[in-house]
Symmetry: C2
Subunit: 995 residues, 2 copies
């Protein structure tokens, strides 16, 4: 860890070092309960820090503990997680593991008690009464407190209300008790007087079951409404209310909410308001500057708790998964440096903002104090906040130096407390943590006190290094709809698209637009009066003409180098990337997709083009066969001929594009038959292909009724390949028809056939329901369930069944069913009146044959809305249990145990997607082996397959076992030719041909 | 090139070095025409030695030159070969290449003349008269001669007769001329008197159009008969006749022939006989010892020309291709050391063998002289032979030291001469050649004179190093039927199998043998009276029972680890390897396969098991999907369910085994329906699978008529997968039937369908006809044309059409049509009386509609023999041209040019195999791009695909584009499951999951 040359060190560095040394000296001799060599906790932490695998297993076990209500379940999970790493455990625990199978009643309570005890070290109290006692004790030590109610992740409105109530209770309890503590302690005394003794920290995610970062104009008023009683009570008690800062996705909304509170007349004067700001975010300096400016404008003083940020791993992983820029600094010392810059920023505006520094880092603390002094501020004007149960020596040292210390005191039950405990475990064992450096690794004081800014200049960021790694496929990043400007652009696109609707889209054959006799209207399913456009219906003769033209053009297309065809797809991708908002907006209007899903459809289309282009480049050189000297042998893949692409309306761009792109890039010509419900987006895609450079003989556009145009293509002897995605009924007919070989037909016809699903998801005992339930609701009701991957059978293991049902309806009730042109809409209409009638009948029948657990509301009007519905007590052989409904209908089943759950999941004619929420390693392993589905998802929702990451497609009655977006897919569109050349002449073979 | 410590040097090393230095000294000052810095040849050789790519292109161009009769063709080839490496050429040649397109009439003759002049440096004369003049000139220099008639490879009996005649002419010409040269020259004078002044070298491959190393008892008498006039004339002229040694495959037969000559009464006394022995063969010391012992026993003196051997690259490559042990020493110095050991061996037996040393290596020469002297032999008792036109300084030095020198004088036309020229070019530019070391690389004399034996000990052989490389798939080596003991074992196996024929083979369902009501006889097609056995015919109900049992057993089989299933296949392979002779012998009798092809069928079956086992192990871990941090995503492949395997009789073990092994190793259960004509070998295979450990519920044996048993299986809703190889008619019916989905059927049925072919091979101008014609005859008539890969359309480019026809019939006439139990048989019977009748009718009809070029003879008796037939003037739309006949019927077409040839080759309903013989790089490249077939072969026959090396299968009406024995094959037997696990918990993902 090199320290930069002293010339780069700021002028105050000697003062910071001097103060830092004084703090360290004051820490000596103080008891350090957390990192002493004694105790089970210390031993576990020590091992976790030395063994990454053990750390993972241990923390994952701790994470699941609160949900394991039976001793047998507890012991099973313990064995699964810790059986493999038992060698790392103390002999006692090893003995316990060996024993546990036969004596779970003895072992489980003992271990549970141990873990609970450990977790309690970090939790100030389970109840308000406990909390009062703790705060009183801290007061005795001269420490102030801020209270945080540990909240189970809130996924129903009832849970949000409960959180509000608990905050009021705590306010009341502490408000009543504090006067009895006696005079303010030293930490309550700022130079300007007594600061609010009662501090409350609020997490906005616990205030609302479904915060819509995509629609802050709706979410902020809801949050304000929930906060109102708390703020009123706090004002009455003279308390300070602080908004905690959670993940980056909530950041803008939290800032907006806080600004609203600063401005609102009812909170303009009181209570005192604070907000946490995370120095690890690249945005934070600008955000803080904006807040200060606004507060100065309003003349409203506020408090900032400056922290480094606790979700670094999560933010980093999420951004990489989505292909978004990293919101956080790449390296710890960059965050540390930013923390110091923002410290100075806060101190520079001490007239309007009170600064609190949430850190255990002695360097950061010393820097803040020295910078305050330099500005002529009394260091008691600022506050240092540290977590309850941690860093005791630091707290005491600061107190001994006369600085103000406030402890962040979590309060609540073991269940939510355990998640908090695991975060603390991670923090204490992090390779980069100050406490680990100080107390465990024995890093020298000089290094601990070095200026982080000097390291920033010296070390290149690892993110930059990553960018230099070899190119490989990356999914197109989705829009970040939490961003105001992105949403504004989307709204503009919607308006513009709307202004250009109503055009005619006739068939295009061999570059010529036909003059159709009949037209098919395309309407907005949320408002059927709005016509999106109309498509000319191709005749059977026109379908024949398209095939004939394709037959003529295909050989030249196949002869073009694969790289050229790939480049054309890449151009198509570039065009779609450029017009992504327009294409997404058109889907919102033509098929009723909510914004994010419409955007996902467009990025998937882009992904298909880019991925298949890359795949074709990979395959273009052929695959080397087993090599022997004297022979060159390679297998090349070539086109099949003319492909008919018959596409569905539910992914009107992505699936059409995927099948078409695969067929084109492999050298086939394509006759494209879009769904009757989405011809306008299809026509737009056709134009893009032409614009990208696909020759007009190679791609033909033949909208029309499936029974006419589709059937004609499927039976045509010169169609060598049919790529179909759609219903089981049509798929089976195509499968059968295409297999009949007409006399003179040149090729056996190949069918790539993706049909429906009746997809199950299992919720195991020990599942993380906070994650499972929103994923279930989204998988079942996203895009009104109109995805072949959608969840329609929820299977819950008995142990958690009732608890799941309790929360499920509430979670579903937070969905907004509305017109998809509104950003806040989760569930739009179904595609057309036929689907609406069918689904309403299904729900009616379900309400008779099963128990309706919940049913959503639909907006008024003529849109094809269907209320999402959840049924329980569903007979296992009922239509509800067996048939694909392709709409927002979810059936819930109770399984006696995991075995039955798997059997039930597999008991279907379909095998498309399936899922499991579980934290049992053994059950996860079994699901991986035993679930019968083309796409299996563990601990996440079962929709939203991404190209490359989740090659998509099923078997049984779901399809032929092909995998769109996977490495085998293009092979189905080609035939292989193996070419062996004897390169031996006169006994001599060129050297480079030899093995 | 390290020289070992002197302690390892033999006691005579100082004497050898001393003599060697004297030879080198004597070489100084002598003109060295070949390796002087002057002349086009020297410049070309210099460049070739510095640039491997240039060397390859140059030598390949020279190789094709003699066949290029038109200037345009000449220039086109020159541009294709040398255009890319023009930078290596002199400005003149570069200018010529640039010019050549517009002035081929100027450029071609000039370049051709240059090349011819160069080639002539190594050829003693084109005609006997030229030769006499050369030998006379050599005589004047004191050099003796041995004459070798350059022979085009002999592929017809007429060509062999012509070779004999030319030898007689040369004998006569030289015999008449030599007395006129005056007294014997110094090289003719040995201590014991004048040696035969007239020496003739004979290549046995030129004596017979089809030497059958597999049947020496037939070939040796034919060779003796051809040699008889030459030997008689030589005896009359007092000449010595020497048998040259060619490739290793001919070695045993050459030795056997030579031994016969030593023994035969008519040659017991004269002429003098000699034989060449190659020191690079590991066998040679033992072979020489046996020859000497036999000669000693007979009291018959003979001569040995000890050479190092000229086919090292070829032998090495061939052995590696076949998986046979290397017959040659791995390193040059090992051959040199062996040469010296054999030198001593010859000198030790100087009383019975006269030694001639064919080498240019000064060290080898000095060693021979010193060793002779040490034994008290006059060095003039031994002879040194060197090639005409090479190493002149060495020859002159030896002469100056009083040693005897004989020049090896090739005589003949440019066409065969060019092949000889290319071999000399390769020799002169070889990295390991003594001449290059001496004259070009300037290696020091001490090193050139070092004892090669001391290096043998020091350096490990590269073959040993190869064995340590990572395991990868290697084809099972075929039997080396040139070996006496191997043939003996095969004959014993035939006899033993014959003794155990006639057994009953009922269906076996779920481990139980049924009691069939009807039986199908299997007979020997070469002798229908011989019953091989009989198979019980399964009923439709039994087929259903087999499927039901398979459905029950399959899930457990699929759940077994892939490695266990792979191990069972490997056990089956091991059993077949152990019983390979028995399995091959059974095929000879049951389907009439000649030995080598029966053996090939068994090795292919072994290969399928081993290859698919390895492939399954590769696939078992799944394939990683695009990775992002926080997610583990992988695609696993799993079984489809129950497979019906419907197999043909023509590869009764290999194809049955391949389809079954693929289905089993992927976790499917198999109902196996063998062909009605080959149930006995199928039953044997079934037993092997059970013995290897396939559970009895997983494999079922249901022989019976295709229309009953096969049809039932194909239509069965629980059969998820059908692997079929057979006729187009049946294949199309299966394709269609299987695509109908019955209500309740669990899976879309998958068909792997391999059907027929109507395979074309193009002979281009510039093709090497010596290689093409035997390959054509074998591809068309091997196993009586009963392979789906067999050649049935020969397309010859106009420029060579007539020449090809001239030689084709003669080449075909060398085939032996006979009972396959005889080792010498090339073509056996067809499978049954129906096929025989159909094919005889086809030939009759062909003889009416086209011109019968040639028709073979068939043996008498009741066997199902069909005479192989070649037709020309075949109408392009005739049945002969279009239909698959599946028998020994070849149609020849004339194409105006290469374009038409490709169009004609592709003008077929089938697309299975295709081939090209050409030495035009551009045409080879076009064939690779444009030929429409699943398997394309360049400059080799079009049958005999090997597992792994030639993934096999076609498209159009030949099949569905699957590739047996290729890396994609197993995927067709499985369905993919993509499993994505979110491994992020509490914002923390295990480190090893991160990208």
């Amino acid at each position: 860890m090199p320290v930069a040359p002293s010339s780069a060190v700021g002028p105050l560095q000697p003062a910071v070092e001097e103060l830092g040394q004084r703090i360290f000296t004051a820490m000596e001799g103080a008891a350090a309960p957390l990192f002493s060599a004694e105790g089970v906790y210390a031993r576990l932490m020590d091992r976790a820090m030395r063994n990454e695998a053990f750390k993972t297993q241990l923390f994952r076990f701790v994470d699941v503990v609160p949900t394991l209500t039976s001793n047998a379940e507890f012991v099973r999970h313990m064995q699964e997680y810790l059986g493999d790493v038992a060698g790392e455990l103390s002999p006692v625990l090893k003995g316990g593991l060996a024993l546990s199978g036969i004596a779970s009643g003895l072992v489980a309570p003992a271990v549970r008690a141990n873990i609970t005890t450990l977790a309690r070290q970090f939790i100030a109290g389970a109840s308000p009464a406990d909390l009062v006692a703790t705060v009183r004790r801290l007061h005795g030590l001269g420490h102030a407190a801020t209270v945080d109610l540990l909240g189970e992740v809130v996924i129903t409105d009832a849970e949000a209300e409960h959180y509000v109530q608990r905050n009021l209770e705590v306010l009341d309890a502490l408000g009543a008790a504090i006067p009895g503590f006696g005079p303010p302690c030293a930490s309550d005394l700022a130079p300007g007087g007594v600061v609010p003794r009662l501090n409350l920290s609020i997490k906005i995610s616990a205030l609302d079951a479904r915060i819509q970062t995509i629609a802050p104009e709706r979410s902020v008023p809801r949050l304000v409404a929930r906060l109102r009683p708390i703020l009123a009570r706090a004002a009455a008690l003279g308390a300070l209310v602080n908004l905690d800062m959670e993940s980056f996705a909530f950041k803008d909304l939290t800032l907006r909410l806080f600004t609203e509170l600063l401005r609102a007349p009812e909170t303009a004067a009181s209570p005192s308001l604070g907000i946490a700001i995370q120095a690890y975010l690249r945005d934070s300096e600008a955000d803080l500057a904006a807040l200060i400016a606004e507060a100065r404008r309003l003349g409203r003083r506020f408090t900032v708790r400056l922290v480094k940020g606790a979700y670094w791993d999560y933010e980093t992983i999420l951004a990489r998964q989505r292909g978004w820029p990293q919101p956080v600094w790449a390296r710890k010392h960059e965050s540390d440096a930013c923390f110091e810059r923002m410290t100075r920023q806060l101190l520079d505006h001490a007239d309007v903002v009170s600064a609190a520094f949430g850190t255990h880092n002695v360097r950061s603390i010393a820097h803040a104090v020295v910078q305050a002094q330099r500005r002529g501020l009394d260091p008691r004007a600022i506050e240092f906040q540290m977590l309850f149960g941690m860093a005791e020596p630091v707290k005491r040292a600061l107190r001994s130096l006369g600085l103000r210390v406030r402890e962040y005191c979590p309060c609540g039950d073991l269940l939510p407390g355990m998640a908090y405990f695991v975060r603390r475990l991670l923090e204490n064992t992090s390779n980069e943590g100050f406490l680990r450096h100080t107390f465990v690794d024995g890093v020298g004081r000089a290094q601990l006190l070095a200026d982080p800014a000097t390291r920033v200049a010296a070390a290149p960021s690892p993110a930059a290094a990553k960018a230099a790694s070899p190119v490989e496929f990356r999914n197109e990043p989705p829009l970040d709809l939490t961003r105001d400007n992105v949403r504004r652009d989307f709204a503009v696109a919607l308006k513009e698209v709307r202004g250009s609707l109503g055009r005619d889209h006739p068939p295009v054959i061999d570059g010529r637009r036909t003059r159709p006799a009949t037209w098919i209207d395309s309407v907005n399913p949320a408002d059927p009066a709005e016509r999106i456009g109309r498509a000319g219906s191709a005749t059977a003769a026109e379908a024949d003409a398209a095939v004939a033209a394709a037959v003529r053009a295909q050989p030249a297309w196949a002869r073009r180098p694969a790289g050229e065809r790939a480049a054309i797809l890449e151009r198509a991708a570039a065009i779609m990337r450029q017009r992504r908002l327009e294409l997404a907006a058109l889907q919102v209007l033509e098929v009723g997709k909510p914004w994010a899903e419409a955007d996902g459809d467009v990025t998937e289309a882009i992904d298909f083009c880019v991925y298949y282009a890359a795949e074709m480049r990979r395959l273009a050189g052929g695959v080397a066969n087993v090599a022997v000297p004297g022979e060159s042998s390679i297998t090349h893949y070539g086109a099949r001929g003319v492909a008919a692409v018959i596409a569905p309306w539910n992914f009107p761009l992505a699936i059409l594009c995927g099948m078409t792109a695969a067929a084109l890039v492999t050298g086939n010509a394509v006759v494209m038959k879009p769904a009757e419900q989405s011809p306008v987006i299809a026509a737009r895609f056709f134009d893009i292909l032409i614009e990208a450079g696909v020759p007009s003989g190679v791609i033909h556009f033949v909208p029309g009724p499936g029974e006419e145009v589709g059937a004609r293509l499927v039976a045509h002897p010169r169609v060598a390949l049919i790529a179909f995605t759609g219903s089981r009924e049509v798929g089976l007919k195509i499968w059968e028809t295409a297999a009949r070989t007409a006399p003179g037909q040149p090729e056996l016809r190949k069918v790539i056939c993706e049909m429906g699903g009746k997809n199950a998801l299992i919720v195991d005992s020990g599942a993380d329901l906070d994650e499972a339930l929103p994923a279930i609701v989204h998988s079942a009701f996203g895009f009104a369930g109109q995805k072949c991957s959608a969840l329609s059978r929820l299977i819950v293991v008995d142990a958690v069944h009732d608890h799941v049902l309790e929360r499920l309806a509430g979670c579903a009730a937070t969905l907004h069913v509305d017109r998809p042109e509104y950003a806040h809409t989760h569930v739009g209409p179904v595609i057309d009146a036929t689907a609406q009638r069918r689904l309403l009948a299904t729900i009616d029948e379900g309400a008779r044959s099963a128990r309706l657990l919940w049913r959503g509301d639909v907006p008024a009007g003529s849109g094809f809305f269907v209320p999402p519905a959840i049924f329980t007590d569903v007979a296992r052989d009922s239509r509800l249990a067996r048939d694909e409904h392709f709409g927002p209908v979810l059936a819930v089943f109770r399984a006696a145990d995991f075995d039955e759950a798997v059997a039930l999941a597999n008991d279907s004619a379909y095998a498309l997607t399936a899922g499991l929420f579980s934290r049992s390693p053994a059950h996860i392993a079994r699901a991986r082996e035993e679930l019968v589905a083309g796409n299996i998802y563990i601990n996440r929702g079962i929709t939203g397959a991404l190209v490359g990451r989740h090659p998509f497609g099923g078997f049984r009655m779901s399809g032929g076992g092909t995998k769109a977006g996977g490495p085998d897919y293009l092979l189905h569109f080609m035939v292989p030719r193996s070419i062996a050349e004897n390169v031996l002449r006169r006994g001599f073979a060129p050297g480079d041909e030899e093995a």
